[in-house]
Amino acid sequence: MHMADALLSPAVGGTMWAAAAAATVYCSAKVRQSLDDRKVPLMGVLAAFVFAAQMINFTIPGTGSSGHLGGGLMLAILLGPPAAFLAIASVLTVQALFFADGGLLALGCNIINLGIFPCFIAYPLIYKRIVGSHPTRARLLTGSLIAAIVGLQMGAFAVVTETTLSGVSSLPFSSFVVLMQPIHLAIGIVEGLVTAGVISFIWQARPEILEKAATDQPIGILPIGKILVIMAALTVLIGGLLSWYASEHPDGLEWSMFKVSGQEELETREGLHKDLAGVQEQTALMPDYGFKKSAAGDSGRLGTSVAGLVGGLLVLLLGVVIGLVLKKRGAGGHDHSHPHDHDHSHPNHHH
């Protein structure tokens, strides 16, 4: 599932962006080092394949719903971790730009959630260990299933953590987890089954493809230790962010938890927020929802907010008018119609 800009705070989004950028730079360097220029077209075309493959859906027996390939694990198997990570990142970039899936800020989260886990955890630590270099049907199936499930569970957990940290959703952390993990268990099972099926198809039809993929990657020397260090750093980063946020915004994560467990204490929150209001006005780029919320009953504040609404609408109207004027002006000078390519214009006619 894709994170969306609208669910993110700049702090969380920015941190994940930085992490994704670092991972992209690291993987690009790795791919360049491997000096295997055959991979260049293969990565791009396999990334495009993920889109094409997602158009084909199969019917999940007995449910009436349909499943399709996610692609992360499959790319990791065919390309090896660093190249697969880049391919996944480019798939997500295209989705963000064209498919309204997520948005530009959320791209960082999505690259981490859907790229790191399958490429650097699920594939090397689970799939490869189980399947080894002499796969059997059973091993392929177990390996793919467990790897896909673990990868997606981690991804889903990351989505929950990022959303909760951002504080835009009122969904409490624990119930969010309870909601997301089972859904992703189902998605993971489908993903595992499909990956196993496709990989064994390839194994039967053209084993050399997988043999090549399995041997020519620097996967053997993939620094597991380094990855663990990176993961640990990320965990500390997120953990630090989490605790910082929790102390700064008690009504974010903790309050949600309290609410779910029924230990909500409104009075203390009121007090805390009054103290925090000043801080928040200074750090204006941080969410100040607690402030607005606590002041909601206050008629003075409400007055301002109605005024704000009116002002906002006015500016909006102004914007629309400006847009229309600009558009009219442009339409006067330009031909709007984009002639369609009828695919039969023989270039010689233009000589």
């Binding site: 800009d5 700049p10 730079v25 780029l285 006015l314």
Partner: protein
Amino acid sequence: MSTKIDRAFYDIGHLDILAEADTPLHRLDPRAKLLTTAVFVVCVVSFGKYEIAGLLPFFLYPAVVIGLAELPLSFLLRKLLLVSPFVIFIGIFNPWLDREVMVQLGPVGISGGWVSFASLLLRFSLTVGAALLLIATTGFGTICMALEQLGAPRVFTVQLLLLYRYLFVLIAESIRMMRAQSLRSFNAKGRISYRVFLQMLGNLLLRTIDRAQRIHMAMLSRAFTGEIRIVRQFSFGYKEACFLAGFGGLFLCLRLTDLTALLGSLVLGITG
């Protein structure tokens, strides 16, 4: 032919055509548009959970861009309506969980949950809209080059270009394969069983890998040495600086001051 991706595939083609137009905005250096969009998105998402009023002025930017770049509003709105189900799915819990009345409009009390849900939808349309406008005024290839000039690794941007190029080829291939499948299936809605699905996917993958090999051959036969090179003539000049500084400044200003409230109370003051 009605799946979401299918539709999106044609929309990609359409965005592509829009990006080929020649307006002052299209001619602007892509880096200026990319950075402006980034400032825009960060400012929008930095607003508080219950903010509505402050977000409204931000629609100024899409309005101006649509006007300047002569983009078809209806098309962009339709794309926006394909709201990511995930946002709705997560957001819809807000009204349900957060029922404390926050705004009293006469007899009607509006809960904080509804306010935050509305705010979420506003953010969503602003951020996703900004991404669409970026693409529609710049084009994907140009954005990739801008990314590279802003420091993205070459290997990554080349991926993006190749992905985009072969997206069309491979989707057309998979559409043809599904067509062949559905014409011999006869059941309603062209359901595909798991077994058939795997074989289709497997065959498609084999062909894709073969294609990658042919592309590699084509690259090699044109002196490819592992590095993809592109000539580009961008210049980040005076216009670009104005665009970035102007809009960036405006966004920060809208974010940091309560301009709207000021304007609103002014108006209310006059009329009241």
